[in-house]
Protein backbone atom coordinates (compact mmCIF):
# COMPACT_ATOMS: atom_id res chain seq x y z
CA UNK A 1 0.00 0.00 0.00
CA UNK A 2 1.13 3.51 -0.71
CA UNK A 3 2.09 5.84 2.11
CA UNK A 4 -0.20 8.81 2.59
CA UNK A 5 2.69 11.04 1.53
CA UNK A 6 2.84 9.16 -1.75
CA UNK A 7 -0.78 9.98 -2.61
CA UNK A 8 -0.36 13.63 -1.62
CA UNK A 9 -0.94 16.27 -4.31
CA UNK A 10 -0.04 19.92 -3.78
CA UNK A 11 -3.05 22.13 -3.19
CA UNK A 12 -5.46 19.52 -1.88
CA UNK A 13 -7.21 20.11 1.45
CA UNK A 14 -8.91 17.58 3.72
CA UNK A 15 -10.42 19.98 6.24
CA UNK A 16 -11.27 23.66 6.03
CA UNK A 17 -10.70 25.44 9.37
CA UNK A 18 -13.28 27.95 10.71
CA UNK A 19 -13.14 31.37 9.11
CA UNK A 20 -11.32 34.24 10.78
CA UNK A 21 -13.96 36.48 12.37
CA UNK A 22 -11.66 38.78 14.33
CA UNK A 23 -8.73 41.04 13.45
CA UNK A 24 -5.82 38.96 12.19
CA UNK A 25 -2.61 38.95 14.22
CA UNK A 26 0.74 38.98 12.46
CA UNK A 27 3.41 37.07 14.34
CA UNK A 28 6.84 38.65 14.23
CA UNK A 29 9.12 37.08 11.65
CA UNK A 30 11.56 36.10 14.36
CA UNK A 31 9.22 33.29 15.44
CA UNK A 32 7.61 32.42 12.13
CA UNK A 33 8.08 29.03 10.53
CA UNK A 34 10.60 29.22 7.66
CA UNK A 35 9.58 26.14 5.68
CA UNK A 36 6.19 24.42 5.96
CA UNK A 37 6.16 20.87 7.32
CA UNK A 38 5.78 18.27 4.57
CA UNK A 39 2.42 16.96 5.71
CA UNK A 40 0.14 15.22 3.20
CA UNK A 41 -2.10 17.34 0.98
CA UNK A 42 -5.14 15.18 0.41
CA UNK A 43 -8.92 15.43 0.37
CA UNK A 44 -11.04 14.05 3.19
CA UNK A 45 -12.09 11.20 0.89
CA UNK A 46 -8.50 10.27 0.23
CA UNK A 47 -7.74 10.26 3.93
CA UNK A 48 -10.74 8.08 4.70
CA UNK A 49 -9.90 5.66 1.92
CA UNK A 50 -6.27 5.45 2.94
CA UNK A 51 -6.99 4.65 6.58
CA UNK A 52 -9.89 2.35 5.77
CA UNK A 53 -7.60 0.31 3.55
CA UNK A 54 -4.90 0.33 6.21
CA UNK A 55 -7.35 -0.95 8.79
CA UNK A 56 -8.24 -3.86 6.52
CA UNK A 57 -4.64 -5.08 6.71
CA UNK A 58 -4.98 -5.60 10.44
CA UNK A 59 -5.96 -8.59 12.48
CA UNK A 60 -7.96 -7.60 15.57
CA UNK A 61 -10.14 -9.02 18.34
CA UNK A 62 -13.15 -7.90 16.33
CA UNK A 63 -11.82 -10.11 13.49
CA UNK A 64 -10.96 -13.34 15.29
CA UNK A 65 -9.38 -15.40 18.05
CA UNK A 66 -6.35 -13.76 19.63
CA UNK A 67 -4.87 -16.16 22.18
CA UNK A 68 -1.88 -14.07 23.30
CA UNK A 69 -0.72 -15.28 26.69
CA UNK A 70 -0.80 -12.73 29.53
CA UNK A 71 -2.48 -10.17 27.27
CA UNK A 72 -6.10 -11.17 27.96
CA UNK A 73 -7.46 -10.33 24.53
CA UNK A 74 -11.09 -10.64 25.57
CA UNK A 75 -13.97 -9.09 23.63
CA UNK A 76 -14.21 -5.27 23.90
CA UNK A 77 -17.86 -4.41 24.62
CA UNK A 78 -19.29 -1.67 22.45
CA UNK A 79 -21.34 -0.23 25.27
CA UNK A 80 -18.06 0.85 26.86
CA UNK A 81 -17.00 2.69 23.72
CA UNK A 82 -20.30 4.52 23.51
CA UNK A 83 -20.25 5.47 27.20
CA UNK A 84 -16.75 6.92 27.02
CA UNK A 85 -17.69 9.00 24.00
CA UNK A 86 -20.57 10.79 25.75
CA UNK A 87 -20.00 14.53 25.60
CA UNK A 88 -20.17 14.80 29.38
CA UNK A 89 -17.15 12.49 29.63
CA UNK A 90 -15.11 13.44 26.57
CA UNK A 91 -15.59 17.20 26.38
CA UNK A 92 -14.47 18.08 29.89
CA UNK A 93 -11.29 19.82 30.98
CA UNK A 94 -9.13 18.60 33.89
CA UNK A 95 -8.86 22.08 35.40
CA UNK A 96 -12.52 23.07 35.36
CA UNK A 97 -14.01 23.49 38.81
CA UNK A 98 -14.62 20.26 40.76
CA UNK A 99 -18.24 21.27 41.26
CA UNK A 100 -18.71 21.21 37.47
CA UNK A 101 -17.41 17.64 37.05
CA UNK A 102 -19.02 15.71 39.90
CA UNK A 103 -20.19 12.96 37.57
CA UNK A 104 -16.64 12.33 36.37
CA UNK A 105 -15.32 12.30 39.92
CA UNK A 106 -18.09 9.92 40.94
CA UNK A 107 -17.06 7.42 38.27
CA UNK A 108 -13.43 7.59 39.35
CA UNK A 109 -14.36 7.20 43.01
CA UNK A 110 -16.67 4.27 42.32
CA UNK A 111 -14.03 2.59 40.18
CA UNK A 112 -11.49 3.00 42.96
CA UNK A 113 -13.91 1.36 45.39
CA UNK A 114 -14.77 -1.51 43.04
CA UNK A 115 -11.12 -2.32 42.35
CA UNK A 116 -10.43 -2.28 46.10
CA UNK A 117 -13.17 -4.84 46.65
CA UNK A 118 -12.01 -7.08 43.82
CA UNK A 119 -8.39 -7.09 44.97
CA UNK A 120 -8.71 -6.80 48.73
CA UNK A 121 -6.63 -3.62 48.93
CA UNK A 122 -7.28 -0.49 50.98
CA UNK A 123 -6.47 2.53 48.79
CA UNK A 124 -6.13 3.22 45.08
CA UNK A 125 -4.69 5.55 42.50
CA UNK A 126 -6.02 5.63 38.96
CA UNK A 127 -3.15 7.78 37.66
CA UNK A 128 -0.86 5.31 35.86
CA UNK A 129 -1.40 5.12 32.11
CA UNK A 130 -0.31 1.52 31.53
CA UNK A 131 0.71 -1.65 33.35
CA UNK A 132 4.40 -0.79 33.23
CA UNK A 133 3.55 2.70 34.42
CA UNK A 134 1.67 1.14 37.33
CA UNK A 135 4.67 -1.06 38.08
CA UNK A 136 6.89 2.00 38.13
CA UNK A 137 4.48 3.72 40.52
CA UNK A 138 4.16 0.70 42.80
CA UNK A 139 7.88 0.12 43.12
CA UNK A 140 8.44 3.85 43.62
CA UNK A 141 5.99 3.62 46.54
CA UNK A 142 7.92 0.71 48.03
CA UNK A 143 11.13 2.66 47.67
CA UNK A 144 9.64 5.74 49.31
CA UNK A 145 8.30 3.63 52.14
CA UNK A 146 11.69 2.11 53.01
CA UNK A 147 13.45 5.46 52.79
CA UNK A 148 10.81 7.05 54.97
CA UNK A 149 11.64 4.45 57.62
CA UNK A 150 15.29 5.50 57.15
CA UNK A 151 16.06 1.97 55.94
CA UNK A 152 18.50 2.96 53.19
CA UNK A 153 20.21 -0.41 52.96
CA UNK A 154 17.53 -2.03 50.85
CA UNK A 155 18.66 -1.89 47.23
CA UNK A 156 17.53 -5.28 45.89
CA UNK A 157 14.25 -6.29 44.24
CA UNK A 158 13.65 -10.04 43.82
CA UNK A 159 12.12 -11.03 40.48
CA UNK A 160 11.37 -14.55 39.17
CA UNK A 161 13.07 -15.61 35.95
CA UNK A 162 9.61 -16.16 34.46
CA UNK A 163 8.69 -12.49 34.94
CA UNK A 164 7.66 -10.12 32.19
CA UNK A 165 10.56 -7.91 31.05
CA UNK A 166 8.86 -4.81 32.44
CA UNK A 167 9.49 -6.09 36.00
CA UNK A 168 13.31 -5.94 35.99
CA UNK A 169 13.22 -2.79 33.85
CA UNK A 170 10.95 -1.20 36.48
CA UNK A 171 13.33 -2.22 39.25
CA UNK A 172 16.23 -0.53 37.47
CA UNK A 173 14.25 2.65 36.84
CA UNK A 174 13.72 2.90 40.58
CA UNK A 175 17.38 2.46 41.38
CA UNK A 176 17.08 -1.19 42.43
CA UNK A 177 19.24 -4.13 41.49
CA UNK A 178 17.04 -6.83 39.93
CA UNK A 179 17.87 -10.12 41.69
CA UNK A 180 16.65 -12.99 39.58
CA UNK A 181 15.25 -16.03 41.35
CA UNK A 182 15.03 -19.25 39.41
CA UNK A 183 11.82 -21.23 39.09
CA UNK A 184 11.93 -24.78 40.39
CA UNK A 185 11.16 -27.86 38.31
CA UNK A 186 7.43 -27.30 38.86
CA UNK A 187 7.60 -23.79 37.48
CA UNK A 188 7.16 -22.16 40.88
CA UNK A 189 9.36 -19.81 42.88
CA UNK A 190 12.14 -21.95 44.39
CA UNK A 191 11.49 -21.57 48.13
CA UNK A 192 14.92 -22.78 49.22
CA UNK A 193 16.58 -20.36 46.83
CA UNK A 194 14.33 -17.59 48.10
CA UNK A 195 15.35 -18.21 51.69
CA UNK A 196 19.00 -17.86 50.62
CA UNK A 197 18.43 -14.69 48.62
CA UNK A 198 16.43 -12.58 51.08
CA UNK A 199 18.37 -10.36 53.41
CA UNK A 200 18.24 -6.95 54.98
CA UNK A 201 18.96 -5.61 51.49
CA UNK A 202 15.67 -6.94 50.14
CA UNK A 203 13.26 -4.12 49.34
CA UNK A 204 10.66 -6.51 48.03
CA UNK A 205 9.60 -9.17 45.57
CA UNK A 206 7.61 -8.71 42.35
CA UNK A 207 5.25 -11.60 41.66
CA UNK A 208 2.72 -12.46 39.02
CA UNK A 209 0.27 -15.03 40.37
CA UNK A 210 -0.75 -17.09 38.54
CA UNK A 211 2.68 -16.79 36.95
CA UNK A 212 3.50 -16.50 33.27
CA UNK A 213 3.33 -20.28 32.93
CA UNK A 214 -0.32 -20.00 33.96
CA UNK A 215 0.36 -21.73 37.25
CA UNK A 216 -0.90 -20.55 40.60
CA UNK A 217 2.03 -20.56 42.98
CA UNK A 218 0.59 -22.43 45.98
CA UNK A 219 3.55 -21.44 48.13
CA UNK A 220 2.41 -17.86 48.01
CA UNK A 221 1.65 -17.67 51.72
CA UNK A 222 5.09 -19.02 52.58
CA UNK A 223 6.72 -16.64 50.09
CA UNK A 224 4.86 -13.73 51.68
CA UNK A 225 6.05 -14.76 55.13
CA UNK A 226 9.68 -15.14 54.06
CA UNK A 227 9.82 -11.76 52.36
CA UNK A 228 7.87 -9.92 55.05
CA UNK A 229 10.03 -11.43 57.78
CA UNK A 230 13.10 -10.15 55.97
CA UNK A 231 11.50 -6.70 55.98
CA UNK A 232 10.58 -6.63 52.31
CA UNK A 233 7.24 -5.85 50.67
CA UNK A 234 5.21 -7.86 48.18
CA UNK A 235 4.29 -6.43 44.77
CA UNK A 236 1.55 -8.06 42.69
CA UNK A 237 1.79 -7.79 38.92
CA UNK A 238 -1.89 -7.91 38.00
CA UNK A 239 -1.45 -8.95 34.38
CA UNK A 240 -3.05 -12.31 35.14
CA UNK A 241 -5.88 -11.11 37.38
CA UNK A 242 -8.40 -12.52 34.90
CA UNK A 243 -7.71 -15.95 36.37
CA UNK A 244 -8.76 -15.29 39.96
CA UNK A 245 -11.56 -12.74 40.26
CA UNK A 246 -14.05 -13.92 42.87
CA UNK A 247 -11.78 -16.87 43.75
CA UNK A 248 -9.05 -15.25 45.79
CA UNK A 249 -7.87 -11.70 46.42
CA UNK A 250 -4.21 -10.61 46.17
CA UNK A 251 -4.72 -8.48 49.27
CA UNK A 252 -5.61 -11.60 51.27
CA UNK A 253 -2.48 -13.41 50.08
CA UNK A 254 -0.17 -10.87 51.62
CA UNK A 255 0.45 -8.47 48.75
CA UNK A 256 1.15 -4.89 49.80
CA UNK A 257 0.94 -3.28 46.35
CA UNK A 258 -1.17 -4.45 43.41
CA UNK A 259 -1.39 -3.13 39.85
CA UNK A 260 -4.26 -3.72 37.45
CA UNK A 261 -4.26 -3.75 33.67
CA UNK A 262 -7.65 -2.33 32.76
CA UNK A 263 -6.98 -3.16 29.10
CA UNK A 264 -6.58 -6.81 30.01
CA UNK A 265 -8.85 -7.91 32.84
CA UNK A 266 -11.41 -5.15 32.45
CA UNK A 267 -12.08 -5.39 28.71
CA UNK A 268 -10.91 -1.97 27.54
CA UNK A 269 -9.54 -2.22 23.99
CA UNK A 270 -5.86 -2.53 23.19
CA UNK A 271 -5.81 0.17 20.51
CA UNK A 272 -2.86 -1.21 18.48
CA UNK A 273 -0.71 -1.13 21.59
CA UNK A 274 -2.41 1.43 23.83
CA UNK A 275 -3.79 3.39 25.60
CA UNK A 276 -4.67 1.19 28.53
CA UNK A 277 -4.52 2.06 32.21
CA UNK A 278 -2.58 0.64 35.15
CA UNK A 279 -4.22 1.63 38.47
CA UNK A 280 -2.46 0.73 41.71
CA UNK A 281 -3.95 -0.55 44.96
CA UNK A 282 -2.08 -0.46 48.26
CA UNK A 283 -2.55 -1.56 51.84
CA UNK A 284 -3.42 1.12 54.40
CA UNK A 285 0.13 1.65 55.64
CA UNK A 286 1.21 2.74 52.14
CA UNK A 287 -1.73 5.04 51.44
CA UNK A 288 0.16 8.22 52.31
CA UNK A 289 2.71 7.45 49.59
CA UNK A 290 0.21 7.33 46.72
CA UNK A 291 0.64 9.75 43.82
CA UNK A 292 -1.60 12.80 44.05
CA UNK A 293 -4.38 13.40 43.50
CA UNK A 294 -6.67 10.47 44.24
CA UNK A 295 -10.45 10.93 44.39
CA UNK A 296 -12.15 11.35 47.74
CA UNK A 297 -15.73 11.70 48.96
CA UNK A 298 -17.03 13.96 51.70
CA UNK A 299 -20.73 13.49 52.36
CA UNK A 300 -22.28 13.64 48.90
CA UNK A 301 -19.46 15.60 47.28
CA UNK A 302 -16.48 14.19 45.40
CA UNK A 303 -13.11 15.96 45.31
CA UNK A 304 -9.47 15.59 44.29
CA UNK A 305 -7.52 14.51 47.32
CA UNK A 306 -4.04 15.98 47.57
CA UNK A 307 -3.61 15.11 51.22
CA UNK A 308 -1.28 12.11 50.94
CA UNK A 309 1.49 13.29 53.24
CA UNK A 310 4.37 11.30 51.81
CA UNK A 311 3.21 11.14 48.24
CA UNK A 312 5.80 10.08 45.66
CA UNK A 313 4.46 12.96 43.57
CA UNK A 314 3.02 12.69 40.11
CA UNK A 315 3.76 10.03 37.53
CA UNK A 316 1.98 11.94 34.71
CA UNK A 317 -0.02 15.06 34.05
CA UNK A 318 -3.66 15.29 35.23
CA UNK A 319 -5.57 12.37 36.70
CA UNK A 320 -5.26 9.26 34.56
CA UNK A 321 -6.60 7.84 31.31
CA UNK A 322 -10.12 8.93 32.08
CA UNK A 323 -11.94 7.51 29.06
CA UNK A 324 -10.29 4.13 29.71
CA UNK A 325 -11.51 4.37 33.32
CA UNK A 326 -15.05 5.02 32.07
CA UNK A 327 -14.90 1.90 29.90
CA UNK A 328 -13.64 -0.27 32.74
CA UNK A 329 -16.34 1.08 35.03
CA UNK A 330 -19.06 0.39 32.47
CA UNK A 331 -17.72 -3.18 32.23
CA UNK A 332 -17.82 -3.67 35.99
CA UNK A 333 -21.40 -2.36 36.12
CA UNK A 334 -22.40 -4.70 33.31
CA UNK A 335 -20.75 -7.81 34.76
CA UNK A 336 -21.36 -7.17 38.42
CA UNK A 337 -19.65 -9.19 41.12
CA UNK A 338 -21.17 -12.47 39.94
CA UNK A 339 -20.30 -11.78 36.30
CA UNK A 340 -16.66 -11.03 37.02
CA UNK A 341 -16.35 -14.26 38.97
CA UNK A 342 -17.94 -16.15 36.09
CA UNK A 343 -15.50 -14.47 33.69
CA UNK A 344 -12.57 -15.88 35.66
CA UNK A 345 -14.18 -19.30 35.91
CA UNK A 346 -14.83 -19.53 32.19
CA UNK A 347 -11.37 -18.16 31.37
CA UNK A 348 -9.80 -20.91 33.47
CA UNK A 349 -12.18 -23.51 32.04
CA UNK A 350 -11.26 -22.52 28.49
CA UNK A 351 -7.53 -22.68 29.18
CA UNK A 352 -7.76 -26.10 30.80
CA UNK A 353 -9.91 -27.40 27.96
CA UNK A 354 -7.39 -26.22 25.39
CA UNK A 355 -4.56 -27.66 27.44
CA UNK A 356 -6.27 -31.05 27.61
CA UNK A 357 -6.67 -31.11 23.83
CA UNK A 358 -3.34 -29.56 22.84
CA UNK A 359 -1.28 -31.72 25.19
CA UNK A 360 -2.23 -34.62 22.91
CA UNK A 361 -0.53 -32.83 20.01
CA UNK A 362 2.26 -30.67 21.41
CA UNK A 363 4.38 -31.09 24.51
CA UNK A 364 2.95 -29.25 27.52
CA UNK A 365 5.41 -28.95 30.37
CA UNK A 366 4.16 -28.55 33.96
CA UNK A 367 1.10 -30.61 33.13
CA UNK A 368 0.69 -32.35 36.49
CA UNK A 369 -1.89 -29.91 37.76
CA UNK A 370 -4.62 -27.61 36.44
CA UNK A 371 -3.43 -24.44 34.79
CA UNK A 372 -5.20 -21.18 35.40
CA UNK A 373 -6.27 -18.87 32.54
CA UNK A 374 -3.26 -19.65 30.35
CA UNK A 375 -0.70 -22.37 29.77
CA UNK A 376 2.53 -22.97 27.95
CA UNK A 377 3.13 -25.51 25.18
CA UNK A 378 6.39 -26.10 23.37
CA UNK A 379 7.25 -27.02 19.79
CA UNK A 380 10.76 -28.09 20.78
CA UNK A 381 10.34 -31.68 19.50
CA UNK A 382 9.73 -30.23 16.03
CA UNK A 383 13.26 -28.82 15.92
CA UNK A 384 14.41 -32.13 14.50
CA UNK A 385 12.37 -31.31 11.38
CA UNK A 386 14.07 -27.93 11.19
CA UNK A 387 10.99 -26.15 12.52
CA UNK A 388 11.25 -23.48 15.20
CA UNK A 389 8.38 -22.08 17.28
CA UNK A 390 8.55 -18.96 15.12
CA UNK A 391 7.92 -20.98 11.96
CA UNK A 392 5.03 -22.79 13.62
CA UNK A 393 3.22 -19.60 14.54
CA UNK A 394 3.87 -17.94 11.19
CA UNK A 395 2.05 -20.86 9.58
CA UNK A 396 -0.93 -20.18 11.90
CA UNK A 397 -1.35 -16.84 10.13
CA UNK A 398 -2.14 -18.73 6.92
CA UNK A 399 -5.06 -20.36 8.74
CA UNK A 400 -6.48 -16.98 9.78
CA UNK A 401 -5.59 -17.43 13.45
CA UNK A 402 -3.48 -15.02 15.45
CA UNK A 403 -0.53 -16.79 17.05
CA UNK A 404 -0.13 -17.05 20.80
CA UNK A 405 2.78 -15.34 22.51
CA UNK A 406 6.10 -16.87 21.42
CA UNK A 407 9.42 -17.20 23.20
CA UNK A 408 8.01 -16.03 26.48
CA UNK A 409 8.44 -16.85 29.32
CA UNK A 410 12.13 -17.34 28.72
CA UNK A 411 12.42 -20.40 30.92
CA UNK A 412 10.82 -22.75 28.40
CA UNK A 413 12.46 -23.21 25.00
CA UNK A 414 10.47 -22.79 21.76
CA UNK A 415 7.38 -22.02 23.80
CA UNK A 416 3.91 -20.77 22.99
CA UNK A 417 1.95 -19.08 25.77
CA UNK A 418 -1.76 -19.55 25.12
CA UNK A 419 -4.55 -17.58 26.81
CA UNK A 420 -8.00 -18.05 25.24
CA UNK A 421 -10.02 -15.76 27.61
CA UNK A 422 -13.63 -16.38 28.58
CA UNK A 423 -15.26 -14.70 25.59
CA UNK A 424 -14.31 -17.51 23.18
CA UNK A 425 -16.71 -20.37 22.53
CA UNK A 426 -15.99 -24.08 22.62
CA UNK A 427 -16.41 -24.10 18.85
CA UNK A 428 -13.67 -21.50 18.39
CA UNK A 429 -11.37 -23.46 20.68
CA UNK A 430 -12.04 -26.71 18.80
CA UNK A 431 -11.18 -25.02 15.52
CA UNK A 432 -7.98 -23.72 17.05
CA UNK A 433 -7.02 -27.23 18.13
CA UNK A 434 -7.66 -28.45 14.58
CA UNK A 435 -5.29 -25.81 13.24
CA UNK A 436 -2.57 -26.77 15.73
CA UNK A 437 -3.04 -30.40 14.74
CA UNK A 438 -2.82 -29.65 11.02
CA UNK A 439 0.30 -27.56 11.38
CA UNK A 440 2.02 -30.14 13.57
CA UNK A 441 1.41 -32.74 10.86
CA UNK A 442 2.74 -30.30 8.23
CA UNK A 443 5.84 -29.77 10.33
CA UNK A 444 6.66 -33.46 10.09
CA UNK A 445 5.58 -34.05 6.47
CA UNK A 446 6.35 -30.75 4.77
CA UNK A 447 8.35 -28.45 7.03
CA UNK A 448 9.05 -26.04 4.19
CA UNK A 449 5.44 -24.83 4.46
CA UNK A 450 6.19 -23.62 7.96
CA UNK A 451 9.70 -22.37 7.39
CA UNK A 452 8.53 -20.18 4.51
CA UNK A 453 5.28 -19.15 6.16
CA UNK A 454 3.21 -17.05 6.05
CA UNK A 455 2.09 -17.38 2.44
CA UNK A 456 -1.29 -15.67 2.22
CA UNK A 457 -0.98 -12.61 4.45
CA UNK A 458 -0.81 -9.02 3.04
CA UNK A 459 2.97 -9.17 3.37
CA UNK A 460 5.07 -12.28 3.91
CA UNK A 461 7.84 -12.77 6.43
CA UNK A 462 9.69 -9.51 6.95
CA UNK A 463 13.42 -8.93 7.13
CA UNK A 464 14.06 -7.84 10.73
CA UNK A 465 17.80 -7.78 10.26
CA UNK A 466 17.57 -5.34 7.39
CA UNK A 467 15.16 -3.16 9.40
CA UNK A 468 17.71 -2.87 12.19
CA UNK A 469 20.77 -2.44 9.98
CA UNK A 470 19.41 -0.04 7.40
CA UNK A 471 17.43 2.18 9.69
CA UNK A 472 14.57 3.78 7.81
CA UNK A 473 12.40 5.23 10.53
CA UNK A 474 10.45 7.77 8.48
CA UNK A 475 9.44 8.59 4.96
CA UNK A 476 11.74 11.03 3.20
Amino acid sequence: MELIFEISTAGRRGFIPPKLDVKGYNLSNKFKRSTPPRLPEVTEGEVVRHYTNLSRLNYAVDVGFYPLGSCTMKYNPKLNEYAASLDGFSKIHPYQDESSMQGALEIMYNLQEALKVISGMDAMTLQPAAGAHGEFTGIAIIRAYHRFRKDFKRDEMIIPDSAHGTNPATATMNGYKAIEIKSDKNGMVDIDELKKIVSDRTAGIMLTNPNTLGLFDEHILEIAEIVHNAGGLLYYDGANLNAIMGKVRPGDLGFDVVHFNLHKTFSTPHGMGGPGAGPIGVKKFLESFLPVPTVGKRGEKYFFDYSHKHSIGRVRSFYGNFSVLVKAYAYILTMGGDGLKRASEMAVLNANYLKAKISKILKVPYDTRPCMHEFVATTEPLLEHGVKALDFVKRMLDYGVHPPTVYFPLIVHEDLMIEPTETESKKTLDKFVEVIDKITKEAKENPKLLIEAPHVTPVRRLDDVRAAKQLILRWK
Binding site: D464, A468, K469
Partner: protein
Amino acid sequence: MKKYLKTHEWAELNGKIATVGISNHAQEQLGDVVYVNLPEVGKTVKAGEVFCSVESVKSASDVYAPVSGKIKEVNKALESTPELINKSAEGDGWIAKIEVSNPKEFDNLLDKDAYDKFVKDSE
Protein backbone atom coordinates in the same frame (compact mmCIF):
# COMPACT_ATOMS: atom_id res chain seq x y z
CA MET B 1 47.86 -17.12 20.84
CA LYS B 2 44.20 -16.41 21.63
CA LYS B 3 42.89 -16.61 25.16
CA TYR B 4 39.28 -16.47 26.26
CA LEU B 5 36.90 -15.33 28.98
CA LYS B 6 33.85 -17.09 30.40
CA THR B 7 31.90 -14.04 29.24
CA HIS B 8 32.81 -15.08 25.68
CA GLU B 9 35.43 -12.52 24.69
CA TRP B 10 38.87 -13.33 23.31
CA ALA B 11 42.17 -11.48 23.44
CA GLU B 12 45.41 -11.99 21.50
CA LEU B 13 48.60 -10.39 22.77
CA ASN B 14 51.24 -9.08 20.40
CA GLY B 15 53.98 -7.28 22.24
CA LYS B 16 52.16 -4.59 24.21
CA ILE B 17 48.97 -4.61 22.12
CA ALA B 18 46.03 -6.96 22.76
CA THR B 19 43.50 -7.39 19.97
CA VAL B 20 40.07 -8.23 21.43
CA GLY B 21 36.70 -9.38 20.16
CA ILE B 22 33.83 -11.74 20.94
CA SER B 23 34.07 -15.48 20.42
CA ASN B 24 32.58 -17.46 17.58
CA HIS B 25 30.23 -19.09 20.09
CA ALA B 26 29.01 -15.65 21.14
CA GLN B 27 28.21 -14.56 17.59
CA GLU B 28 26.29 -17.79 17.01
CA GLN B 29 24.15 -17.07 20.07
CA LEU B 30 23.54 -13.47 19.04
CA GLY B 31 22.36 -14.09 15.52
CA ASP B 32 22.83 -11.48 12.80
CA VAL B 33 24.77 -8.57 14.27
CA VAL B 34 23.22 -5.26 13.23
CA TYR B 35 25.18 -2.71 15.22
CA VAL B 36 28.35 -2.39 17.25
CA ASN B 37 28.63 0.40 19.79
CA LEU B 38 32.38 0.91 19.38
CA PRO B 39 34.34 2.42 22.27
CA GLU B 40 36.23 5.69 21.91
CA VAL B 41 39.89 5.60 20.97
CA GLY B 42 41.97 6.80 23.90
CA LYS B 43 39.53 5.54 26.50
CA THR B 44 40.96 3.69 29.49
CA VAL B 45 39.38 0.35 30.29
CA LYS B 46 39.62 -2.03 33.23
CA ALA B 47 39.59 -5.78 32.94
CA GLY B 48 36.08 -7.12 33.60
CA GLU B 49 34.34 -3.81 32.86
CA VAL B 50 31.86 -3.31 30.05
CA PHE B 51 33.53 -1.30 27.31
CA CYS B 52 31.36 -1.91 24.28
CA SER B 53 28.11 -3.53 23.19
CA VAL B 54 27.05 -5.66 20.24
CA GLU B 55 23.46 -5.67 19.04
CA SER B 56 21.45 -8.19 17.05
CA VAL B 57 17.76 -8.16 16.23
CA LYS B 58 16.86 -10.23 19.26
CA SER B 59 19.39 -9.09 21.85
CA ALA B 60 22.05 -6.60 22.87
CA SER B 61 25.11 -7.93 24.61
CA ASP B 62 27.63 -6.13 26.76
CA VAL B 63 31.26 -6.84 25.89
CA TYR B 64 33.66 -7.02 28.84
CA ALA B 65 37.28 -5.88 28.54
CA PRO B 66 39.53 -8.94 28.81
CA VAL B 67 42.49 -6.83 29.95
CA SER B 68 43.12 -3.35 31.32
CA GLY B 69 44.70 -0.63 29.29
CA LYS B 70 44.05 2.13 26.76
CA ILE B 71 42.09 1.73 23.53
CA LYS B 72 44.58 2.33 20.72
CA GLU B 73 42.44 1.46 17.72
CA VAL B 74 38.91 0.32 16.93
CA ASN B 75 37.78 -1.72 13.93
CA LYS B 76 36.06 0.99 11.92
CA ALA B 77 34.93 -1.57 9.33
CA LEU B 78 32.32 -2.69 11.88
CA GLU B 79 30.51 0.64 11.48
CA SER B 80 29.45 -0.15 7.93
CA THR B 81 29.66 -3.94 8.04
CA PRO B 82 28.73 -5.17 11.53
CA GLU B 83 28.09 -8.61 10.03
CA LEU B 84 31.87 -9.08 9.94
CA ILE B 85 31.46 -10.33 13.49
CA ASN B 86 29.22 -13.15 12.23
CA LYS B 87 31.53 -13.97 9.33
CA SER B 88 34.76 -13.90 11.29
CA ALA B 89 34.30 -13.13 14.99
CA GLU B 90 37.80 -14.23 15.86
CA GLY B 91 39.45 -12.77 12.75
CA ASP B 92 38.36 -9.78 10.68
CA GLY B 93 35.56 -9.12 13.17
CA TRP B 94 37.96 -7.97 15.89
CA ILE B 95 36.61 -5.05 17.89
CA ALA B 96 39.49 -3.10 19.42
CA LYS B 97 43.21 -3.02 20.04
CA ILE B 98 44.20 -2.26 23.64
CA GLU B 99 47.60 -1.12 24.88
CA VAL B 100 47.84 -3.31 27.96
CA SER B 101 48.81 -1.77 31.27
CA ASN B 102 49.26 -5.08 33.09
CA PRO B 103 50.37 -7.99 30.83
CA LYS B 104 50.11 -10.38 33.78
CA GLU B 105 46.28 -10.23 33.46
CA PHE B 106 46.67 -12.29 30.32
CA ASP B 107 47.71 -15.30 32.41
CA ASN B 108 44.30 -15.39 34.11
CA LEU B 109 42.40 -15.99 30.88
CA LEU B 110 41.34 -19.39 29.60
CA ASP B 111 43.15 -21.10 26.77
CA LYS B 112 41.12 -22.42 23.84
CA ASP B 113 40.64 -25.95 25.17
CA ALA B 114 39.52 -24.72 28.58
CA TYR B 115 37.08 -22.26 26.96
CA ASP B 116 35.66 -24.85 24.59
CA LYS B 117 35.14 -27.22 27.50
CA PHE B 118 33.42 -24.45 29.47
CA VAL B 119 31.04 -23.76 26.58
CA LYS B 120 30.28 -27.45 26.14
CA ASP B 121 29.60 -27.92 29.87
CA SER B 122 27.19 -25.02 30.07
CA GLU B 123 24.99 -26.22 27.22
